[in-house]
């Protein structure tokens, strides 16, 4: 009994998610198309992994989708200007990494609540992306969206990132630094660690992960646009919460992230499956967020 209890305490997130995924999969089964689930899963899981890394270091980021929008715009501009594809992609990944590092540096240097800071950044970035123009159509040579290879490559990238982050977080001392940052900054400083540099590196790594999503967006929508990804912000935060990532305590693991992302994809599919009328589908997304938060973002009572 006691072992059951402690097993449950340890794995209740995973159990909850798996049950949820099974139920949803059965409900949606008749039309659930594997390729669509894969598309959405790859996007959400990449975003959630990037966000989770930041959340584990105590930062709830509201700026990442705006950064991605800027990156896609930049990519679109590069392609339109006739740069070779590989140059454009490198520029995008570097840009996204730099955005991340800039964010990390700011959070490290300006010690106000990161939520506020990233809100401000979001505002600035959205403005900048919009200055680029509404939509930048880029000459994408092929139908990448319909290409099996394309999604396989990004699935592969997602797996590589998963393995990398998993190693980083659980087996290296950098992983300990990540969790440490979410705690007591004075103590971090007294421990002789440059927390601003650490933050910068963490957010830079997240940036590289987010950059993959920027690439996907660029290819499947044939260009960049200022509003791209905007709708993903709350679902991704919800997915991270569903996966048990808790930015208040620096708690959680990547396994949860993956399960949470899958749950989220299916939940979002459900709203179309249920013929939910527009506002209800909006409220549906919100309800998921709220429920995820209520269950998982609670502070321990003590």
């Amino acid at each position: 009994m006691k072992t059951v209890r402690s097993f449950y305490d340890k794995y209740h997130m995973e159990i909850g998610n798996i049950v949820l995924i099974l139920v949803l999969a059965i409900v949606l089964f008749p039309r659930l198309s594997a390729d669509y689930v894969l598309h959405q899963f790859v996007i959400i899981v990449l975003l959630t992994m990037g966000l989770s890394l930041e959340m584990l270091s105590g930062v709830l980021d509201f700026a990442f989708m705006a950064e991605i929008a800027m990156t896609t715009c930049l990519g679109g501009l590069c392609l339109r200007a006739g740069f070779p594809v590989w140059v454009s992609l490198t520029v995008m990944i570097l840009a996204q990494m730099l955005f991340g590092m800039a964010k990390g540096l700011l959070i490290g240097k300006i010690r106000v609540n990161p939520i506020l800071l990233t809100f401000i950044l979001q505002q600035i970035y959205q403005g900048i992306a919009a200055v680029f123009g509404d939509a930048i159509q880029a000459p994408i040579p092929r139908d990448y969206y319909g290409s099996y290879m394309f999604w396989m490559i990004f699935s592969g990238i997602a797996v590589v990132i998963y393995v990398f982050l998993q190693l980083l977080l659980t087996h290296t001392y950098y992983g300990k630094y990540v969790r440490m940052l979410g705690e007591n900054e004075t103590s971090v400083k007294n421990s002789g660690i440059r927390f601003d540099i650490c933050r910068m590196i963490i957010c830079g790594i997240s940036g590289i992960v987010f950059a993959q999503v920027a690439l996907i967006f660029l290819f499947i929508t044939n260009g960049g646009s200022a509003g791209i990804g905007r709708r993903y912000l709350y679902p991704v935060i919800a997915a991270a919460c569903l996966g048990g990532i808790n930015f208040l305590k620096g708690k959680g693991n990547l396994r949860g992230t993956v399960l949470g992302s899958l749950s989220m994809v299916l939940l979002l599919n459900l709203s179309a499956g249920l013929s939910l009328y527009s506002y209800f589908s909006y409220i549906w997304e919100i309800a998921i967020l709220v429920i995820a938060v209520v269950i998982f973002a609670r502070e321990s009572k003590n």
């Binding site: 290296t172 705690e183 002789g192 003590n302």
Partner: protein
């Protein structure tokens, strides 16, 4: 059996936390108007017990009888209304607001909805004057040193119409003169008929102050004695449950070459301080509250900026600007405020212990988890950290055990020069011995140690040399043969301008 009536009776209190029985069926009585000491090792359950009394936490079972009335459960408000005031082990001040506001926290000093700030400050000033403490009552408490904060806590408790005053290690952050002030206040209160419950790890204080003493061990009640009927050694045996020799362990370490030299260091409120520290040496720093010892150590450790002066490590001039550089130069620092500067409270013990030396226990970027466990277990055993498991969050440990974790954390980094800032604050007798032994052992290994302490006997017992600091200036430097408590106190209060020329 006695004509004195019991003002407070604790009956069969039980309080458990996951994996820990913090208080296990404790009952005892407190007589009206007495000073009742409560002692026990770290984690014995003293703080938990008084939190039950004040309503800060809810016990699993048991009752509290106050002046003949039974209460199953207290609330902070009820306790206050009944005249119970508590000074908690951990500060319960609001950092951003002034001392005066903290003193009257939650109180209406005048009827009506409006509050007269000037009047409140005047009243607070008066209370501090009565305590003979010179404090700027309009200053936010977060800018004050721990000692001053403690004095604010005391003022807060005595500002009210108090019947039972409970103090959880009130003297821990205080130096000799403030302790005297506190004792004077306590005696005055006793004369007015106030009952006092007093927790301290400084046993000599009990003999000076208390009427009776109750001993707890491992959450259980051990016994209550009249202080007159018991001696120090017996008390220690009751606490520890075994014989424990109490003395400052002798040391045979060889004082070696120079490890650290500070020349004309100015910064962070300190002026023109010079000293040298050798391998194998323990250098004590004495001073009154706010003397600036902590400030000095923080400058050396790179936590606060240096204005002028030089720091030499192993004879080589350094340019330490950050803690990271200090650590690279082999300097380790155990901060005095374990909560704010030391521990990662929400992380596990294991996690905390190894965190300063992650690189040391890693192969490439990978942490050697076996080694990690071994180090953590080592320190758990060495310091007898009382915990159900190494996975326990530091937040949930008793104050003393938290201190042990913070020390372990710094030691695990294998520094050559180690600064202990109030290392035994809030630590029980047994663990103190462990820490002293450890310091000796480290010195024996040729490490250089600085010990900042407000505990005079400890300072005298452990140091090879003592430097006194008064208002940010060095006022004296004494070799072991010159040690004399009164002389040191004199220097520490700026009495004599000694040692100017070293």
């Amino acid at each position: 059996m006695n004509s004195v009536k019991n003002i407070l009776s604790v009956k069969n209190i039980v309080k458990t936390y996951p994996g820990v029985i913090a208080i296990n069926d404790v009952s005892f009585d407190v007589e009206e108007g007495e000073i009742h000491a409560l002692i026990g090792e770290n984690g014995a359950g003293k703080s938990t017990l008084i939190k039950v009394l004040s309503g800060a936490i809810v016990p699993d079972s048991g009752t509290i009888e106050l002046e003949g009335k039974q209460y199953n459960q207290m609330t902070p408000k009820l306790a206050k209304d009944l005249g119970i005031e508590v000074i908690y082990q951990e500060f319960t001040l609001v950092p951003g607001i002034s001392a005066a506001e903290n003193v009257f926290l939650g109180d209406k000093t005048k009827p009506g909805a409006f509050c007269d700030i000037k009047d409140r400050e005047a009243r607070a000033k008066k209370i501090f004057d009565d305590l003979q403490v010179d404090i700027d009552v309009s200053r936010p408490v977060k800018t004050m040193s721990p000692a001053h904060q403690q004095l604010v806590e005391i003022a807060k408790a005595v500002s009210r119409n108090v019947k039972i005053l409970i103090m959880d290690e009130p003297t821990a952050p205080l130096t000799v003169s403030e302790v005297e002030t506190l004792f004077r206040i306590v005696r005055e209160l006793k004369a007015k008929g106030v009952t006092i419950i007093f927790i301290s790890h400084r046993l000599e204080e009990l003999f000076e102050l208390a009427d009776r003493v109750t001993v707890m061990r491992d959450g259980c009640y051990v016994g209550t004695e009249n202080i007159k009927d018991i001696d120090r050694q017996k008390l220690i045996t009751m606490m520890a449950g075994r014989e424990l020799k109490e003395s400052y362990p002798s040391r045979t370490s060889q004082i070696g070459e120079e490890a650290l030299r500070v020349e004309h260091l100015t910064g962070n409120g300190d002026h023109d301080i010079s000293f040298t520290l050798h391998r194998g040496e323990i250098l004590g720093f004495a001073g009154l509250v706010g003397a600036g010892r902590t400030e000095l150590m923080r400058v050396i450790y790179g936590a606060d900026p240096i204005e002028s002066g030089k720091i030499f490590v192993n004879g080589k001039e350094t340019n330490i600007r950050t803690c990271q550089q200090a650590i690279q130069h082999g300097i380790g620092y155990i901060p005095e405020d374990r909560k704010a500067h030391g521990a990662f409270l929400r992380m596990s013990i294991k996690w905390n212990v190894v965190v300063n030396n992650l690189r040391g226990i890693s192969k490439g970027p990978f942490v050697d988890e076996k080694l990690e466990n071994r180090i953590a277990e080592d320190y758990e055993e060495k310091f007898q950290i009382k915990t159900p498991s190494l996975e326990q969050r530091v937040e949930n440990l008793s104050g003393g055990n938290q201190q042990k974790v913070v020390i372990a954390k710094t030691l695990a980094a294998n520094s050559e020069i180690i600064i202990f800032d109030e290392p035994t604050r809030g630590i029980d007798v047994g663990a103190k011995q462990e820490i002293y032994k450890l310091m000796n052992q480290l010195a024996g290994e040729g490490k250089a140690i600085i010990m900042v302490s407000s505990d005079m006997p400890e300072l005298l017992g452990m140091s090879d040399r003592i430097i006194t600091i008064y208002e940010g200036r060095k006022t004296g430097e004494l070799a072991k043969s010159e040690f004399d408590q009164n002389y040191i106190l004199d220097l520490a209060s700026g009495g004599e301008e000694h040692g100017k020329n070293k």
